[in-house]
Symmetry: none
Subunit: 354 residues, 2 copies
């Protein structure tokens, strides 16, 4: 299992071989996910429960708020399966959660869930109504004060319809990202997504400043974690942003906030880590999003795939049905950094599927 350098150089990731990691999953819900047909990340009618179920499954290997793990309509299982498989094969030193606004707090004991009194946000087509500055400041405080007990952090996310809010956020901030964003759909539902994004952008007024814009079109995960990354500049903890185009959008938010505040951002302790499905996706272009930043950022993609599995659900990953999420790409790179091979992960995922 290899780590491909897709932006920057390999030195950063090579320096993390054998080191211990804290996996932090950001869980958040936006009512955007309730727009019909906008996402397949979850069970119909219960999509806003997906982050809760992902958190439970990642931590303890079962979902307590539902009988079956989150599946998309065609039966593509959540990428949480991959992250959990990595955790079983070569465990993260610890798993923690950022509750960035979910309906149901994961029903798990003994795992730290950081709470910030953050509410689920509204749908972006009608104005997400997020107090973005306050939320950002909560992130900064967290980043400044969080003491990582391990050598680095892997920061993942579970936010249904998160690619839609991420693309809307990037466009609203003025980045030319049309056609550059990924989706968990094979047949990228560009119509519904584009309509939603268009409606979201229409809510923005010319006099809106950055945080007002973010409050209307973005999501809690992006705004809080932008603060987290900036607050982290004080401790200089190494962070792997485990995700695809959403994590790339997070960096755009950081970039815009830094410019807005006339500040600077040292990106040398940050890298983006994603899956081969995102890196090779012909319908999106993560590298060109990364390169819209004023700072350089290292980015890596695992070459993991399910080619040595005959399980029908896993074939769908190869067909592009599910590409990333719940930190799967970062988890796979963590596995590589610790000598784990593709067949070990595949076997674990297959046994999780039963």
């Amino acid at each position: 299992m290899k780590i491909n350098t897709i932006n920057g150089s390999k030195d950063f990731i090579e320096s993390l071989r054998g080191k211990t990691a804290t996996f932090i999953l950001s869980i958040s819900t936006t009512k955007t996910c309730e727009i019909k047909g906008i996402t397949q990340a979850g069970l119909p009618g219960l999509i806003s429960l997906t982050p809760t179920l992902d958190a439970e499954f990642l931590a303890i290997g079962e979902v307590r708020s539902l009988e079956n793990i989150a599946e998309t309509p065609k039966g593509v299982p959540t990428p949480a399966l991959i992250t959990r498989a990595v955790h079983l094969e070569h465990p993260f030193k610890r798993i923690e959660f950022l509750n960035l606004g979910v309906d149901n707090i994961p029903k798990i004991d003994y795992f730290q869930i950081h709470n910030f009194d953050i509410k689920k946000s509204e749908a972006i087509d009608t104005n997400a109504k997020i107090n973005a500055l306050e939320l950002f400041q909560k992130g900064v405080e967290f980043g400044k004060n969080y003491i990582c007990k391990d050598d680095y952090i892997i920061l993942g996310e579970s936010v249904p319809s998160g690619t839609t809010t991420a693309e809307a956020t990037a466009q609203a901030m003025g980045y030319d990202v049309a056609e550059k964003f990924s989706s968990s759909f094979k047949n990228n539902p560009t119509n519904i997504k584009n309509q939603t994004i268009k409606k979201a952008l229409n809510n923005i007024n010319n006099e809106d400043e950055l945080f007002q814009i973010l409050g209307k079109v973005s999501d809690n995960m992006l705004i809080f974690n932008a603060g987290f990354l900036l607050g982290n500049s004080y401790t200089r903890t190494k962070i792997l942003l485990a995700g695809g185009t959403q994590m790339a959008a997070l960096l755009l938010v950081v970039n815009s906030i830094v410019k807005y505040m006339d500040g600077q951002f040292d990106s040398s302790n940050i890298a983006l880590c994603t899956t081969s499905w995102v890196a090779n996706d012909e319908d999106s272009n993560i590298i060109s999003i990364l390169n819209m930043n004023d700072f350089k950022v290292n980015a890596y993609a695992s070459n993991f795939n399910f080619s040595n599995s005959s399980h029908p659900a896993l074939k769908l990953y190869e067909d592009g049905e599910a590409k990333e999420g719940v930190g799967a790409g970062g988890a796979l790179i963590y596995a590589s950094l610790n000598g784990i091979e593709q067949n070990q992960i595949t076997n674990r995922v297959e046994s999780l599927l039963g």
Copy 2:
């Protein structure tokens, strides 16, 4: 994969099972390596670049200062392949470098390179011209102040023509080591080596004291690390000397300095770890070198070999073409201490060779 106790008892090495290690590679060049035919550790005309290339390859898996990794004329690859393979299979917790005088600093970011303002030394046949006392004191200071973040240190070296300078050093200090030293050549080029050593010894005057002798016939790696080991007595960090007869000579240097200074050396935290190729070498005798010390020292040899590989380049190790270097023996013992088997290392090395 077994660890054979070749001197002392197995208790020391058994106490390190499962513990974490910092791998420190000493990189150094002496112009001795430019004497024609004296070493095959590197590419003809570029041998002094070998330590730089070894460092790059070990840390990040590629060489930046050259297109191909250092190979000897017949195509025996550097033992860095073995150490890198171990790092891929079961990573060292961190890798650091001691720059003890190289032409080109390794082009790697995010890895600590300790610099001491040490220059490449001259060839020993014409006087190495090392300020040995100052260099030794730099080593002592480093040893006193270095804080190991892991449970123990594996100290390796990459010094082309290092077995020649090591043998000259041992002889100059008065140890009867003729025929006891190893070389990276199968047909040990004793003529060129012996001539060089003879010339080196001729430069010594009767009134020369120990540090003057070392300054004429030794190398930076031996002198600095003798200081390092003595300075380390203050912190009592456990150190595996990963190498063959060069590391045995390092202990002779320690022994002579301790006697010269009328001091004492507690060797209980030090052990020598080497390959089966050194331990079984009929042209050298590492155990008898070790037993010339006034202190006892534990020594171990990995039983790793390439018997289950059909790769022609690796067969040459079995034929005695390459025996040790870049901490290969210590790395293999570290692998054993962590449950890694021979076929896992062989597969990694083969995939590195492509």
